[in-house]
Point group: C2
Chain length 119, copies 2
């Protein structure tokens, strides 16, 4: 069975199993970048979330566990009733359903590894 599911809603190119995906900091391209699904597989989806400085993503809950990895820039990440500053190379784990919100302190991109609930 091919576990690959194509996500046609993503604006950027996506990897396939065995293809190398580039998750380096976008640097000067960050200002015009958009959030993109990098790939989606059987149980996991990997996205690059672009958070411009000043942008706030209001509190919400995720449908699965999430690993948040800051690739560049700086955000304020609120979860577990605490606000953390996430900078490049800092990572945070959120269990399923944990309410969280994000605010860009500097232009930032975050690598989100989202565990998809099994059907």
């Amino acid at each position: 069975m091919n576990p690959w599911i194509c996500d046609r809603t993503s604006p950027l190119s996506r990897g396939k199993p065995g293809e190398v995906v580039d998750v380096r900091p976008l640097g000067s391209a960050l200002a015009s970048a958009q959030t993109a699904t990098l790939f989606r597989a059987e149980q996991v989806e990997v996205r690059r979330l672009v958070v411009p400085a000043g942008k706030e993503i209001e509190e919400h809950k995720a449908k699965g566990e999430i690993v948040v990895h800051c690739l560049e820039g700086k955000v304020a990440y609120t979860a577990f009733d605490k606000t953390h500053t996430l900078e490049a190379g800092k990572l945070l784990y959120l269990p399923t359903g944990e309410p969280h919100s994000v605010k860009g302190i500097e232009d930032a991109s975050l690598l989100l590894t989202i565990l998809l609930p099994k059907h």
Copy 2:
């Protein structure tokens, strides 16, 4: 339910839900670093795999899907009958059971996000 499972076999400190984990390149500390489980939760385990230059991890299969993210250095990663060079910021997805092997070209560390099979 607390999804957190403590891994007492890991030599390095581990995060807990809501704690920020440092996955920046180890730089000069890489030469003396060891592979470590950074955290393990309900459905996911995150490890930093240290691969010294010249070291080979022979072909094996994983019990779950894996996302491999090179944090620093350079490795040759063989999967799907192809060998890829992974450098910092490059990421590869492996489906469950895909045979793969790794060889250090330079001292390297890889962030492994391993999806644990549900019980």
